[in-house]
């Protein structure tokens, strides 16, 4: 049995490690082989980028060697897939190698596409890459006052990020003693300030309390970089001195090129996590087209389900679990308080008041992630 894992991010790594432990005997007896193909020899803890943008973490804290995170029995190659040949159950890599499989897991993630909004790349700061997060911090540090706008592209990874970065901006300028010189205005695509109703109900009075303005039904159409004006699809605009953006995302280019899914999102069964029309292909994390948050948390819970099912199919000939849509998200409510949202397909999150303990739990999790991604937590 040849199991091919495409992608070495959060979901792919948790899945591969979980599977390697469940199938240790089969791997030892050479009945199973797990191969991972990734685009990088480094693994990034992506949630840490928000902290880099505020000078709370250094970039080198975000990385580990990918090989060091994997069970030794996993055959790991830094050689990304360039062509999926699903009908032949094989892929072709950048190096020109062919990998055949009996079961494949696609966990290639997503990418930011600020270029889809004219002026967004040039006119705004963001924190969805190491370079942009460092650049954003330097811009914040030099900022002495004026209008700060937050705009949100659709779809985007980490749906909590818009409110987190907004609360963090408030605390950052407050800590520098210039909050009274800064007007913060939050813009959001739908008709309330967060897509999760209970998050919106909690965040709105918090925004009111600390003087954050907001405009809903604002889908960013273009940024007039020269005049520093951001314009919406809905016909409104905001004149900014500093613009912070959550860029729109797409799936990876190879997914679109090989017509596996529009926008780079692969049509996926919401419970079995198999690719539609291909029962031996599973899809994880951001790569799916599921109506589930694009977060490491969703990828983590999906990976556990897929690993258990692939192992049980090998051992007893049948899957044993279904994914129930579980997601758990920390929500930083500034630099010293946090809460969380946990939900699934059937049950909405019941938000608790933010507190310092949850913030320190999140800060601890920033370190514990490396245990989690090894599949130990």
């Amino acid at each position: 049995m040849r199991i091919l894992v495409v992608g070495g991010g959060c979901g792919g790594t948790i899945l591969a490690n979980n599977l390697a432990r469940r199938l240790a005997g089969e791997i030892r007896d050479r009945k199973v082989r797990i191969t991972m193909l990734s685009a990088s020899d480094q693994h990034m803890y992506q949630p840490g980028l928000l902290y880099v943008a505020f000078g709370q973490m250094m970039p080198d804290e975000l990385y580990r060697d990918q090989a060091s995170l994997l069970e030794p029995s996993i055959d790991f190659h830094v050689d990304p897939v360039e062509e999926f040949q699903l009908e032949q159950n094989r892929v072709k890599t950048k190096a020109g190698k062919i990998h055949e499989y009996d079961v494949m897991v696609i966990a290639t993630g997503s990418r930011i596409v600020p270029e889809e909004v004219p002026g967004l790349r040039e006119g705004s700061e963001t924190f969805y890459s190491e370079a942009s997060a460092v650049k954003m911090f330097k811009s914040l540090r030099e900022f002495e006052g004026g209008n700060v706008g937050i705009v949100v592209g659709v779809p985007h990874k980490c749906p909590i990020a818009p409110v987190e970065v907004t609360f963090s901006l408030h605390d950052y300028f407050k800590s520098r003693g210039i909050r009274d010189k800064v007007r913060i205005k939050y813009h959001y695509p739908i008709g309330r300030i967060h897509t999760i109703e209970n998050v919106a109900k909690w965040a709105k009075p918090e925004f009111d309390r600390i003087g954050i303005e907001y405009e809903t039904l604002f889908n960013v159409r273009e940024v007039d970089v020269e005049n520093k004006i951001v314009k919406s699809e809905e016909g409104t605009e905001f004149a900014y001195d500093l613009l912070i953006s959550i860029p729109p995302h797409r799936g990876m280019e190879v997914i679109e090129k090989d017509k596996l899914g529009d926008g780079g999102w692969i049509p996926t069964d919401r419970h079995r996590l198999t690719m539609e029309g291909h029962d031996n292909v599973y899809v994880l994390g951001d790569t799916t087209n599921l109506p589930v948050s694009k977060t490491g948390s969703a990828a983590h819970f999906e990976a556990e389900v897929v690993a258990e099912n692939i192992a049980s199919i090998i051992k007893i000939g049948a899957p044993v679990r279904e994914y129930d849509g579980k997601v758990y998200c920390f929500i930083e409510a500034g630099h010293d308080r946090a809460t969380y949202a946990m939900f699934n397909y059937q049950n909405p999150p019941d938000l608790k008041a933010p507190n310092k303990s949850m913030h320190w739990f999140k800060m601890s999790y920033n370190k514990m992630y490396w245990t989690s991604v090894r599949g130990l937590l």
């Binding site: 779809p155 739908i190 016909g235 729109p248 109506p291």
Partner: protein, 76 residues
């Protein structure tokens, strides 16, 4: 040629039905119709509010059983 695509946003709290619709509207071509399925009761008012504000066309809205079926045509 215009397409009619169905978006299954039943039983979703995040990113939610309207956010799903906006995602697929960005991928659609002018003239395409998208049918949004939602079990969120707020969808029946949230979606027309956005569609009217941004200037697309609300084709139909009906509740079948517990599921809202809303059809929207992309106009620009």
């Amino acid at each position: 040629m215009s397409e009619c695509k169905t978006i299954d946003a039943r039983d979703t709290f995040c990113p939610g039905p309207l956010m799903e619709l906006i995602t697929y509207m960005k991928q659609a071509s002018v003239g395409d119709t998208l049918e949004l399925l939602s079990t969120d009761q707020g969808t029946a008012s949230d979606v027309p509010e956005w569609v009217n504000k941004v200037g697309h066309e609300m084709v139909s809205s009906e509740k079948i059983g517990e599921v809202w079926h809303l059809k929207v045509r992309k106009t620009k």
